[in-house]
């Protein structure tokens, strides 16, 4: 060994806090009947036992808390543990449920957009017949959607993640990655990767003024540059999802 090692190395740290995003299944509870929940959950697990084994799980209690009857939350958690599922968070919980969650070391979240994938017909109903609002608004509706605006070119190697819509006034270079839970608007050329609706919003779209993308994806449905070769790429383009297929249109 050389004597170099004696010199203190200031910049080497043993740990680092990083921010990352990953997807996890969300279990939205619609009923307070524990028996019914258990029965249906067992059925679901039987369909894909490998998928559910030791899987992390977010529990969404918003819908079941709209019922009069309280759910036996503690029993539910114990049941999930027994089925080798790991609850890693609870959202839409009331105070009592929050306390139970803490007891089981489960963090309490407010997941925005957790219900977008749900087939429960609250969304369409609420838009058609607006509810007479209560005096106290619920936590979920207060949260604003965070749109993001980028004025500089997105360089190779950079990653951008927007909670809402993402607007980029310049181009996206090859080797860059832009992601949004909503739509992506690119006023320059798209040469890198663009992933819209990353939380499963199938309504989101990608717009760009020239399409030379490495990869485009909407709600997990993707195409790579190989599939995009035949297109007229210099025109303003939109990409949307229709019947599970990516549609690419010139605007």
């Amino acid at each position: 060994m050389s004597t170099d090692t004696e010199a203190p190395i200031y910049n080497k740290s043993a740990l680092e806090f990083k921010s990352s995003s990953f997807s996890s299944p969300v279990l939205a509870i619609h009923s307070t009947e524990l028996k019914q929940i258990k029965h249906q959950l067992k059925e679901k697990i039987a369909q894909a036992p490998e998928f559910f084994r030791n899987s992390p799980l977010l529990i969404d209690l918003k819908f079941c808390n709209e019922n009069e009857e309280p759910i036996e939350f503690e029993a539910l958690i114990e049941f999930l543990h027994k089925e080798s599922l790991f609850p890693i968070g609870v959202s839409g919980a009331n105070e009592e449920q929050k306390n139970i969650a803490f007891k089981f070391h489960i963090p309490v979240h407010t997941i925005r957009g957790a219900h977008t994938e749900s087939k429960f017909p609250t969304q369409s109903n609420s838009t058609n017949t607006p509810k007479t609002t209560d005096d106290k608004p619920s936590n979920e509706t207060v949260e604003t959607i965070k749109n993001m605006l980028i004025t500089q070119p997105v360089r190779s190697g950079q990653r951008i993640y927007a909670k809402g819509d993402l607007t980029i006034l310049s181009h996206v270079s090859a080797g860059a990655e832009v992601m949004a839970e909503g739509n992506i608007h690119i006023y320059g050329a798209l040469r890198g990767r663009a992933l819209a609706g990353v939380q499963g919003n199938t309504e989101s779209r990608i717009f760009c003024s020239a399409l030379h993308a490495e990869l485009i994806s909407i709600a997990g449905h993707y195409k790579t540059s190989e599939d995009l070769d035949t297109l007229d790429q210099q025109k303003p383009t939109q990409i949307l999802l229709q019947d599970q297929a990516l549609i690419i249109n010139n605007l």
């Binding site: 910049n11 997105v154 360089r155």
Partner: protein
Amino acid sequence: MARIIVVTSGKGGVGKTTTSAAIAMGLAKKGHKTAVIDFDVGLRNLDLIMGCERRVVYDFVNVINGEATLRQALIKDKRCNQLFILPASQTRDKDALTQEGVGKVLKELSKEFKYIVCDSPAGIERGANLAMYFADDAFVVTNPEVSSVRDSDRMLGILASKSRRAEQGEEAIKEYLLLSRYSPKRVKLGEMLSVEDVQDILSLHLLGVIPESQSVLNASNSGTPVILDEESNAGQAYADVVARYLGEDVPHRFIDEEKKGIFGKLFGKK
């Protein structure tokens, strides 16, 4: 306060050291007191290009470790008394550089010098990161080919996010493009990216186009910064670059193919 310039590219072999030597000499010849630092610890080259390799006693790492003072380590150029060279250590590796150490040296140099040119190593690891961390201006050296352009793009992303100015939320580093080893003839044949192609991808302020030239290799071999070869295209191009950087309005040259007359063909210097 000194202005700290980093000469960077991401990719190797595009002409970072040649550029560092040329613009440092150019700035010094314009009367500005200039220091040029080799950040390529372990693979030092700048001293060769500057022709001072036989005068190296102490180096950058010695200064950082407190084994020598700056005054001892700085080598005064024999051709221009406004120019000083701080060579890299050849026996260490990049881990010998620390952010605190580099910051301290740059701060001390800032007191005395007008411009500090940091010759970055290739790559995006420690040496390159430290070379650009404290920079005020960045000269991004790019060759007109796709891999170099992409690496420059990556480097620009790092400049925008990992520099001191970015971390402290100050005004962003000023980025300039230097397109080197450019051959209008090969661009015409479609073998090279054109200035427009590169600008389309990088959208940067073009500081100058340095033509591919035999004189660069000759200059490197003889340890003379190519800017001192006033006859050569490359030397003139670098002189233009320095002038433009200092705010002079100099039209771009060497982008289009020169039309040579019969005398030019016979006697023209490449």
